[in-house]
């Protein structure tokens, strides 16, 4: 067993590794992360996770529900640290897994992966408490500076393979030839809800089909497709179809008014503390809201963006979905703007007192194209009325499987007592 495997085993048991080993780990992680672009390309299948916030035992529950690394390919959208009691164990384990299985786990930066924020919200104090000095905090912050700002998931399937027996009775009324679009599973792996959408028709004239008209997304009868994806066999003016579905952009917070294309994210000099100004700050801090266009947060800092902004951005970048984290959502996930954006939250019973459930989002692999994944994020078409453009065919949103889970049992691990201790307050 290598040192790294030993460290992983130790951290999985929620025991810390020596400071010297942390230092070496952080060094290796930085060497690895420096090679990654600001926007990492990730091939489906992938499981997308939101905020963890040092809730180590719930992270273990997440792995139990979602499968272990490296069997499952993971993408964590930041906020590994602060708030919870085990930021160190959680982040160091994720980092070990990253170094051990670099292609099976992607870590992007959240707004808490910053010196300033961790000083106020717990991670700094935890480092001092557990290691007796700020050294480990400093090593970790150096790693934070190298974390990618986003990820682009490619090759996700528009249709889910149904999961075993369903507890949801509504689906029996659905036509069998509709395709499974979303599925909600509980932590025991039982389906609690499914939604379907009509399967697109075969056609040699994509313009006659609306709204979803990606002809390469016809069905799972792959041999009978009229034009192979990525070959332009459809003859559509919008260019070649690279994929059945558009790409999925993953980012911690949201969009920025300074960023209209994914490529502009690639131009940011990310290797720094999260600044208060500029696009890098926005990507990690902004929130979607039910507004038109862009707005300023009433707090005096931070952007809010509406559904039209998401639609336009997705259209322009051939995205079918933006996945983000950053905001607590009670059901563990929340889709907004006709499914154009989803918030994923992976810290159940947040701060050990909210009683919320958490979720992870699984995107399946599109196998209809022989496993070939389109690398571009600008070629395959989509159609959308809002810009009046009709020469792009619609991209279909990916099939989305949400696994919802609850907090790990707490009684055995010395959490703060849930029963409040009576005190003679005045």
């Amino acid at each position: 067993m290598s040192d790294l495997d030993r460290a992983i085993a130790q951290l999985r048991a929620c025991r810390l590794i020596p400071e010297a080993q942390v230092r070496e780990l952080c060094y290796k992680a930085r060497e690895l992360l420096i090679e990654e672009g600001n926007v990492v390309s990730v091939d489906a299948p992938v499981t997308i996770c939101g905020d963890i916030h040092g809730q180590f035992h719930d992270l273990m529950e997440l792995f139990r529900v979602g499968g272990d690394v490296p069997d499952t390919n993971y993408l964590f959208m930041g906020d590994f640290v602060d708030r919870g009691f085990y930021s160190l164990e959680s982040f160091l384990l994720l980092l070990c897994l990253k170094v051990r299985y670099p292609d099976r786990i992607t870590l992007i930066r959240g707004n808490h992966e910053s010196r300033q924020i961790t000083t106020v919200y717990g991670f700094y104090d935890e480092c001092i408490r557990k290691y007796g000095s700020a050294n480990v905090w400093r090593y970790c912050c150096e790693v934070f500076d190298y974390l990618a700002l986003g990820a682009l998931v490619l090759g996700a399937s528009s249709e889910l393979e149904p999961t075993g027996p369903s507890m949801d009775t509504t689906q029996s009324t659905m036509p069998i030839d509709d395709e499974l679009e979303t599925e909600i599973l509980n932590s025991r792996g039982e389906v609690t809800m499914s939604t379907y959408r009509p399967r697109p028709q075969h056609s040699s004239d994509p313009s006659s089909i609306s709204p979803p008209r990606d002809i390469s997304a016809t069905s799972n009868q792959a041999p009978f497709r009229s034009g192979a994806a990525g070959t332009s066999a459809s003859g559509d003016a919008g260019g070649s179809y690279g994929s059945r579905t558009g790409a999925v952009l993953c980012v911690h917070g949201g969009l920025s008014p300074a960023i209209d294309t994914v490529d502009k994210i690639r131009l940011i000099d990310r290797k720094q503390e999260v600044p208060h100004e500029g696009a890098m700050c926005d990507l990690l801090w902004s929130d979607p809201d039910e507004i038109d266009g862009w707005g300023l947060s009433p707090r005096g800092a931070g952007f809010l963006f509406g559904g039209d902004i998401v639609k336009r951005f997705n259209y322009r970048n051939d995205l079918s979905l933006i996945a983000r984290a950053h905001q607590l959502v009670m059901e563990g996930y929340k889709e907004m703007f006709d499914g154009g954006i989803v918030t994923v939250w992976s810290a159940p019973n947040y701060c050990y007192r909210c009683g919320n459930v958490a979720a992870i989002l699984e995107l399946g692999e599109d196998t209809s194209n022989g496993g070939t994944v389109a690398r571009s994020n600008g070629d395959y078409g989509r159609s959308n009325g809002i810009l009046g453009s009709t020469n792009k065919a619609a991209v279909r949103s990916p099939g989305r499987r949400y696994r919802v889970f609850e907090a790990a049992a707490q009684d055995t691990r010395g959490m703060p007592a849930k029963k409040p201790v009576a005190d003679y307050f005045l």
Partner: protein
């Protein structure tokens, strides 16, 4: 839909009756999306991120219609919804200045309101209750310092918000019931990092034998920097004190104080 979290720590309403006064508390998980949407509509403002809309503390007198309760909705209904008393986060100027040129089109502040959720809520008095009247009679602190057995105790959060990682705001209620009296402390606590501290304490004291209720409201407030300077001169763990409203209440200067009383015998 998503299954509900069933943590053992969330219970059915707790209650105890002592000498004709019934005390009830309820603690449930934060609200889900649908009830939040409803509440948003009714309140006219976005509720805090952690909204314990089903939680409450209530005290009721069994022989009369008198009663008082504390719940999140009524507390939030007293938050300024106009935006006239809006605070700004510490780095707001820096943030906005750096964006003046690039995003000139974006000027509009979305749905302005007091996002610090500051409230002067002192409880919801049950309809038909004998009203509180101003008094000079203070809460008998000495009696409350006695180590009488605590028959019932609870600590109930009504709402909490992280102010988008710019501090903390929280409304919570503590109650302890002794054989002859009870004390309830409903506390609003807000720390806006590098800007401001606020405390709004409502104490409800009930003397079961005298059938008398005294309610005291205190408002305390101080600039962040002044608190930091005060603490820097001590040997205290400054970040820890800045999270601790009990310690801060000793430091923050009193801005306003009100005393009211109601006697159920007269």
């Amino acid at each position: 839909m998503a299954s509900t979290a069933t943590s053992p720590s969330f219970q059915k309403p707790n209650s105890v009756t002592v000498k004709g006064f019934k005390i009830i508390t309820q603690k449930l998980p934060i609200l889900k999306a649908d009830p939040i949407e409803e509440m948003t509509k009714e309140l006219g403002i976005t509720p805090p991120e952690m909204i314990f809309g089903d939680n409450f503390v209530a005290i009721e007198h069994e022989q009369s219609p008198w009663g008082i309760a504390f719940n999140a909705f009524d507390a939030l209904d007293r938050v300024d919804k106009t935006g006239t008393s809006m605070l700004k986060v510490a780095y707001s100027r820096e943030w906005q200045k750096s964006r003046e040129k690039t995003h000139e089109g974006i000027k509009e502040v979305v749905k302005p309101f007091d996002w610090s959720y500051t409230t002067d809520y002192t409880g919801t008095v049950k309809p038909g209750s004998r009203p509180f009247i101003a008094t000079t009679k203070p809460i008998p602190i000495e009696l409350l310092k006695r180590p009488d057995p605590i028959l019932f105790y609870d600590d109930v959060i009504l709402y909490e918000d992280e102010l988008a990682d710019n501090g903390i705001t929280m409304f919570s209620c503590k109650i302890r019931v002794m054989p002859s009296r009870l004390l309830l402390l409903a506390r609003f606590f807000m720390r806006l990092d590098n800007v401001l501290f606020r405390l709004r304490d409502t104490r409800v004291y009930v003397d079961f034998d005298e059938m008398e209720i005294i309610r005291e409201y205190q408002s305390r407030e101080c600039e962040y920097e002044a608190v930091r300077r005060t603490l820097a001169a001590t040997r205290d763990d400054v970040p820890a004190v800045m999270r601790d409203p009990n310690r801060l209440s000793e430091i923050l200067p009193l801005v306003e104080k009100r005393l009211e009383r109601v006697a159920l015998t007269e």
